[in-house]
């Protein structure tokens, strides 16, 4: 019995030690853990950029979980994470769930990327040409095979197999889905009327597969001959997927790249949480399916050191962090936009 009591005491002591270890560093200021969640679109960028930030700031650890923009907004609203990230700014409805609404949060762009239309078609390399109309028709389910004459007409030099098209989309609430459906709504009246734009939509194509996260969509496309889907450009480039060039609003055939996404963003130098869409940009070099990722912060945190740490982190993301973007297959956000983000964040001295 005595042994058992000593064992119990030991366990209690160990637990106390564990919890002590977790609490004391945060209060001591020597170590700080910041928890964030949301966009999978931005995840490869955040993962590598935060790693660089942690190396430069050994006292800070950042735990970012890519659960999708919808999940990020939800957990940010529930105060279970310190910051959120989403590829579509919070809507009026989203904001109504937050006490104080728009005035109690700070929302600003942290990354810029393109949405690649990736596919796995035997015999087809990157660069299949898709027009907005054909892309919408594929997702509407009216173009069902890769040998469809409407695709063939755009790609005379490639022999496309008689293979059924499997449409891959996001199963979770996704900012990437918003960017993609925002684009389809801009170019196709049929899509706008039947489906519209949202983080989650009801997908009309009969042979469609829903996957979780950009990661899941990319993995599914790579493993499914005949599949087509939309993923952030970094996923397509880093995992060597094949992806389409899109006919843009000016009639030019443009492949997604750092330069073509940058050109699209340049057509709209001022973005804000209400007027944020940069899809269907015109201009010879502009890739038409692109968007920003927005960070979500509260204006006031009860934990003052945490607020200072978050402020410092995101000032870094807007400045030095953007210098890493191109190396990680993202586009550094225009300086006018990042300057406005830094102003929205304000000074970090508290």
């Amino acid at each position: 019995m005595k042994a058992a009591r000593i064992a119990t005491l030991g366990i209690v002591a160990a637990l106390a030690a564990c919890s002590g270890q977790s609490d004391s560093p945060a209060t001591a200021g020597s170590s700080m853990t910041l928890v964030g969640a949301g966009s999978t679109f931005v995840y490869p960028f955040f993962s590598r950029a935060f790693d660089a930030y942690q190396k430069a700031n050994p006292g800070v650890t950042i735990n970012y979980q890519s659960i999708g923009s919808g999940g990020g907004i939800q957990q940010f609203t529930a105060h279970t994470v310190d910051f959120g990230a989403t590829d579509v700014p919070m809507s009026a409805k989203d904001l109504s769930a937050i006490e104080g609404g728009r005035n109690s949060i700070v929302e600003f762009p942290v990354a810029l990327g393109g949405v690649a239309i990736a596919y796995d078609v035997p015999g087809a390399a990157s660069g299949l040409v898709l027009s907005p109309d054909v892309l919408a028709s594929i997702y509407l389910g009216t173009v069902k095979t890769w040998s469809d004459p409407r695709i063939a007409r755009l790609n005379r030099s490639t022999k496309l197999p008689d293979l059924a098209i499997v449409v891959v989309h996001r199963a979770d609430a996704s900012g990437t889905t918003f960017i993609f459906t925002d684009y389809l709504s801009a170019v196709s009246a049929g899509w706008k009327a039947r489906v519209g734009k949202s983080k989650t939509v009801s997908w009309p194509a009969p042979s469609s597969v829903g996957m979780k996260g950009n990661e899941g969509v990319a993995g599914q496309i790579k493993n499914t001959p005949g599949a087509i889907g939309y993923v952030e450009l970094a996923y397509a480039l880093e995992t060597e997927m094949t992806y389409a060039s899109i006919v843009n609003a000016s009639g030019a055939v443009v492949a997604p790249s750092i330069a073509s996404v940058r050109a699209a963003a340049a057509t709209k130098p001022g973005v804000d949480p209400v007027d944020f869409s940069i899809v269907n940009a015109s201009g010879k070099a502009a890739y038409p399916i692109a968007g920003y990722t927005w960070a979500l912060l509260y204006k006031h945190y009860p934990d003052t050191p945490k607020q200072a740490a978050l402020c410092d982190l995101f000032h870094w993301v807007e400045a030095d962090g953007q210098k890493l973007a191109v190396g990680l297959d993202y586009v550094d956000i225009p300086s006018a936009v990042s300057a406005r983000s830094a102003a929205a964040l304000g000074p970090c001295t508290l």
Binding site: I11, L15, C18, S19, Q21, S22, D23, T33, V35, A37, Y43, P44, S47, R48, F50, D51, T61, N63, Y64, Q65, A78, H79, T80, V81, M211, K212, G213, E215, G216, A218, G219, K222, Y235, E238, T239, M241
Partner: protein, 279 residues
Amino acid sequence: MSRLAVRNAWSAFMICVAAACAGIAALLLAIIVLYVLSKGAGALRPTFFTQIPRPVGIPGGGVANAILGSAEIIALASIAAVPIGTAAGVYLALFGRGRVAASVRFLSDVLTGVPSIAIGVFAYALVVLPARQFSAVSASVALGIIMLPIIVRTTEEAVRLVPHTIREGALALGIPAWKATLLVTVPVARPGITTGVLLAIARVAGESAPLLFTAFGNPQWSVGLTHPIAALPLVIFQYAISPYKDWQQTAWGGALVLIALVFALNLAARVALRSRFAR
């Protein structure tokens, strides 16, 4: 053909069918183990067990933090679930009579069948939302709830199997009921109880659904009870659906580690049971 010959032939045929079914069941397990071995063995480099994950797209790294995190969550869940579960099981076997005991038994059986994701959402609402943070504790609450009914029912069965005469002998010598329970009945049932506990641990070791919104995951070292924590099933889930080859292989490696763990726990359960009969 005579009637008897037809019967014998029919019997032989059915035995063959049953044997084939048994073979299929064993074969499936063998295929799963071999497949996971072939896919995952390559991932089990020393760094797999010593390093934390690298950032996305950078090869290398390991899942040491997830292994440690899983161990911590399961240990904490066991600390809570084992005493409550065994005590409840002993009560049901020795003292539980009438409606109360019957309802506890029934509810415990229902709890066994509740989908683990529902228990995860419950822990999210009960622990994560009020505390305003994802945490190791919330994950342990979820896993502990899943373990509880398994421990209750196996303990009850194990204690029931202890011959009444042993207990009655103790009581006849004037030993108080509580002493007879703790020092006579429970020790005899201990191998069975241990088996139940080990099987409950094996059951929750591979659970990912209840951890999604409790443990939440963590790419860093983290042992704090009030912080998000990495867990092996979460890493497998995240890595398996990823498009990165390196991560996919790590997911297979993680699956292999989990299968090995469950196998070891089952083996330990068998050894514990056998020691009972060796007495």
